[in-house]
Each structure stands twice: as structure tokens, then as C-alpha cells.
Symmetry: C2
């Protein structure tokens, strides 16, 4: 008998944020949205309470092993216990941060061990988590560390229905961006991204559009030299390696419907250059995917939204999209293993 | 008898670019698109030749005075002669640049003198124009100079169906942006923009959303200090003056449908921050409006597009939008003069 198909491990995120209610909402839409099988790490009581604030009755089944998720997912949201907390939406507290950290740690561990097909992480509040022993800049670095991957080789990609982007630099001041971009960094990120799009997204020869840093792509050096000195040489090297890279493209014209038809991924120079078009086009459906890891990891691309937690207005679209995308990537990896 | 209503003066732009064919195309759609009366400066033969490349037969009427435009606009595109050129799409040349400069100079002069209700400028190639005596960074500065307005008081606004943005800084390298923004600059631009939205756009109390410079609006200083040191104090001063200003808003979340419903104008810190969302949402309908001038001035927000000139594929949407918007602003000014 073949082993049971693996399920996705899902961390709760901060229990005072929108994570638990969106997870409950996602499970309730599992049939029409064709979601892959997943289970939550902890929070059985919390999840039921969060669902009630949206007028939803959430059946929960506590499981003892990830392998049991498959058997009960149709009837109830499987929860592998790793703690619980009182539900106090909009009121983050130390006990909640401890649960969030335990949930993230355990979900990641199960994906790394091979007991789960991947990990989907709920939104956390970094400052609160830091107070209970979380010493990474964000969940991406935490997951990379758990995989034994250097943080610079864990590449953040934002994926939405209309667009995929990778920001070359992320959480640094805008004034630090020009000094942080470089040929080697572009090469490293681009190679990881292209390999991941092939392996996890099934794109045989990914087309990479590289954005310029300066307005009008520097207009032949009149408004900045990074295009000529850094970005164009990096693109030439990628092309020499056989990667279908183009650019540097003026960033303002890179996200029109016609331009988007010409590439599979836009490599952007800084956070807002990658995030403005993505959120403008697909605000409630953005998924944060970590490329370059031995495991599949996705996350809804929004924060804890403490201000609207428990009010029923948070949109589950990004959580649903994160679950679906993780399921698709995991299925491609599983199929590749069978063929290998 | 009341004086004849004034018409808009339209410059050709570079005759080798898409300007002439789009102007011809716009005139041919004057009835369904309800365009205001306008006339071209020069290029009677050129315009007819450009129209023919799109399979269009353009009737042209050479007029001797702007006041004659109103009488013939229904039947033909009025052209006030200031020269002509052979039509060679995609092949910019010195004679064409001279015609473009003459057309721009004369169209602007007529708006400044009051003989035209405003000026709509076609797309030029700055480098070519510089060779024939154009000594301004762009048409905005040229028009401001002709009006006797300091260039820093001529505010570029991008207007499209979904969004209006003003970039605080424009054609400078990204590395120069943090050093170029300042409290006084924000105040100056914001005051001009708010006054213009009231006078020319009929918005009684314009709501101004001010974008942050850094990712996550600096996240309480962890990713940059400009929000706390420059942007927030400027917003506080605007609010103290009675201006409905909010922010600094994280730029990536400022252009979602819900966020856009909360303001009339987004004041952005740099070129691509203002242009990425605008072109992503409304690529073929963006209008460049110069605020703060004694005259009305708009322009389609695209370049000469030499590569596609004469091929019939250039979209007249932005030219049509620029003509309509100039007509609306001019009508509001005329109505205000009647009431005054």
C-alpha cells in the first residue's frame, strides 16, 4: 500500500491577529476552492472561537500525527496540538506570541522532517515574537535557518493572479537601496528564482524581466548609472548562462497588461517597486513564497491586521491562495520524486 | 454678441513620433468622445499623411486666427499654420525638431495671450529638441517659463481614470531622492496641488494622501527616518492650514481599490512611486497636467514612441484624455471668470 499523501502544516500566526479566523474561513471553503489537505499547529479552541466571530461553526479534530490529517480533513479542520490560547482579537499578548512561536516552530519542523508536504505560515507581529525568543528578522529567515539555508539564498517572491515579483532588497531604507544592489546579488537571486519557477511552478524556461532602479531606466546615464554599471552587466551574464533575462526595463511601464504578458517573473530592485504593482493589481490575493528552500513555504502577503481582527471583515483570499499555491508546488515536487 | 468660445491650442510633438497620427485619430473621434474644440499648430500636410498610415482620411482646414477654430471644427481639423514637414515616421530629423519647437512655442504663446483656452502638448524628443535651441529640461518647464512661473511652482500631476498622483521629485537618480525631499518642498507642492484641484477640477476640499518614502512607512524608524523627520511634520503643518492631508502611508498599500477611495490625490516621493501605480492601472489613458500655472496645460503621458510611429498601433486614449481634461479645466476657469 502506498504511503498516505502528505498534508500541509499551517502555523496560526499571532492569535490576536486575523490568522486564526482566516484559517477557519479557508477550511470552510475547502470544497469550492479545491484546497489541498492541511492541518493547523495548535489553537483548537482558539480557531473555533475565531470562527464564531464570523458567524461560522468550525468543526475541529485533534490529531496525534500529521498522517491522520488526510482521513479527517473532509469533516473537520485537523489540529495537531502544540498549545492553545484564549481568543482576544486585537489584543496581542505574551501568551499569544508564545503560541505563535510554538506553532511556527512545529509546522516548520514537520515540513523539514518530511512529515508535512510544506509549511504555510500565518501572519506574526515580529516585535512581539522577539520578546519571547524569536531572533530572526522575519519568518522567511526563520524557515531558511530551520532548513540550513543561508538567509541570502532564501528568496522572497510575491505571487498573485496577475503578477510575480522578487524584490532584490527588502526591509532596508530607500536610501540604502542603491548601495545594496550589485551584480552578484542579482545573479544569485535570479538563478534561485529561475530554478524554483521551473521546479515548483512547472515553467520550463522562465522569462525574467529585470527592472531598472532609476526613472526611465536612467535614460542613458542622465538619471543614474546603476543600469549601465550593475543591472545591464548582470543581465548579460544571465543571458550567457542561458537564462531568458531581459532589461533593465523602466519600472513604470513594466506592469501594464501588455508588459506583463512578456515575462513570468519581474526582478525588482526594492521593496515598494515589487509590492506597489502587486498590491495595486491583486490586493487580497498576494502570496509570499520562499524560493530556494528544500521545503515548500508560502504565506499570505499581509500582516496581523490587529485593527480588524475578530470583526469579520478580513478577506481570506490571500490565505486561500497561499494554501492552494503551496499545494500545487508540493504536488509538483512529489510528482518529480515519483518520476526520479 | 458674446465673444466666440475659445479653442485649445495643440502642439504636434515630434513629427516622426506618434503625436500627429494620434491627433488625427482624436479629431476623428470628436463626436463620440465629446471632445472640446481644438486646433493644431502647423503640420497640415503632415497630419493628413499621418492619418493615411492609419487608413484614415483627415479633412484639414487652415485657419488664420484661433477664433476661426470654433466655426470649422465640426467639418475639419483646424490648423493654424506655423510650418510643415515631410512625414517620415520613426525617423526623427532636425527639420522635424524645428517644427516641433515652433509648434510648441506658438501653441503656448496663444494660451498665454488668452487667444486659446489652454495648451495640449504632443510628445517630443528632448535630446533632439535641445539641438535646435530648446533649453529646458522638459515641456513642463518650458510652459512654466513662458508663463513667468518658477519651475518649482509648476507641479506635474498624472491623472488617469483610476488615480491622480503628483511626484515630489521627478527626473533624478533614485539615490538623489532621499536628499531631495524636504518639508518646504512637500508644503509647496501640496498647496499648489490642492488649490488647482479646487479651481480646475471642481473638488471643494481635496483629500491628499501623502506616501511614505521607505518600506512599511519606515516601520517606526527601523527602516528609515524620513517619515518621522520630514513627511509627518509636513503633513501636520498642512493639516494645521486646513488641508485634508493624511499619511505618511506605506506606498505599497496606497493604490488598492479601497485605499484609492479615500483620497483625491496621492503625493508621492519619487517618479516611479507615482508612475508605477498609474501606468499599471491605466496605461493608455494617463494625462500629464501642469498645476499652478495661469494657463491650462495637459499632455498625453507617453513619449514619441518612434518605434511604432506610422504603424497604426499607437493608442489615442491618452491624447483623447488630455484633450478632454484640458477642455474640462478650461471650462471651469471660464465659468469662474463669468461668476467673478
Amino acid at each position: 500500500m502506498p504511503p498516505a499523501a502528505l498534508a500541509l502544516a499551517v502555523s496560526l500566526g499571532d492569535p490576536a491577529g486575523v490568522g486564526p479566523e482566516l484559517l477557519a474561513s479557508a477550511w470552510l471553503s475547502r470544497v469550492p476552492r479545491r484546497l489541498p489537505v492541511f492541518f493547523a499547529l495548535g489553537g483548537a479552541g482558539l480557531l473555533r472561537a475565531a470562527a464564531r466571530t464570523r458567524g461560522l461553526d468550525l468543526p475541529v479534530r485533534v490529531i496525534a500525527d500529521p498522517a491522520q490529517a488526510q482521513g479527517c480533513f473532509d469533516a473537520a479542520l485537523p489540529v495537531l496540538d502544540c498549545g492553545d490560547a484564549a481568543y482576544a482579537p486585537g489584543k496581542p499578548a505574551r501568551a499569544g506570541a508564545e503560541l505563535a512561536l510554538a506553532s511556527l516552530t512545529e509546522a516548520t519542523r514537520l515540513a523539514v522532517s518530511g512529515a508535512a508536504s510544506g509549511v504555510v505560515t500565518g501572519p506574526i507581529a515580529k516585535a512581539l515574537l522577539a520578546e519571547v525568543g524569536f531572533h530572526h528578522p522575519g519568518q522567511t529567515e526563520f524557515v531558511a535557518d530551520a532548513c540550513g539555508i543561508a538567509p541570502e539564498d532564501a528568496v522572497m517572491m510575491l505571487a498573485a493572479p496577475s503578477l510575480r515579483t522578487v524584490p532584490l532588497t527588502v526591509h532596508i531604507p530607500l536610501s540604502a537601496v542603491p548601495g545594496a544592489i550589485g551584480i552578484e546579488l542579482i545573479l544569485r537571486r535570479a538563478r534561485i528564482a529561475v530554478a524554483a519557477l521551473t521546479r515548483d511552478f512547472g515553467i520550463a524556461r522562465p522569462r525574467l524581466a529585470v527592472a531598472a532602479l532609476n526613472p526611465h531606466a536612467g535614460e542613458a546615464g542622465r538619471m543614474g548609472s546603476e543600469e549601465a554599471e550593475i543591472i545591464a552587466p548582470a543581465i548579460a551574464r544571465l543571458q550567457a548562462e542561458g537564462i531568458a533575462a531581459t532589461g533593465p526595463h523602466p519600472a513604470d511601464a513594466l506592469f501594464t497588461p501588455r508588459a506583463r504578458g512578456g515575462y513570468d517573473l519581474a526582478l525588482c530592485m526594492y521593496h515598494d517597486q515589487a509590492l506597489i504593482p502587486l498590491k495595486t493589481l491583486d490586493f487580497d490575493a498576494g502570496v509570499n513564497v520562499t524560493l530556494g528552500l528544500p521545503i515548500v513555504r508560502t504565506s499570505p502577503d499581509h500582516g496581523t491586521a490587529f485593527a480588524i481582527a475578530g470583526r469579520g471583515s478580513a478577506d481570506p483570499g490571500a490565505t486561500i491562495a497561499a494554501l492552494r499555491l503551496a499545494g500545487e508546488c508540493a504536488a509538483r515536487r512529489a510528482a518529480a520524486r515519483v518520476l526520479a
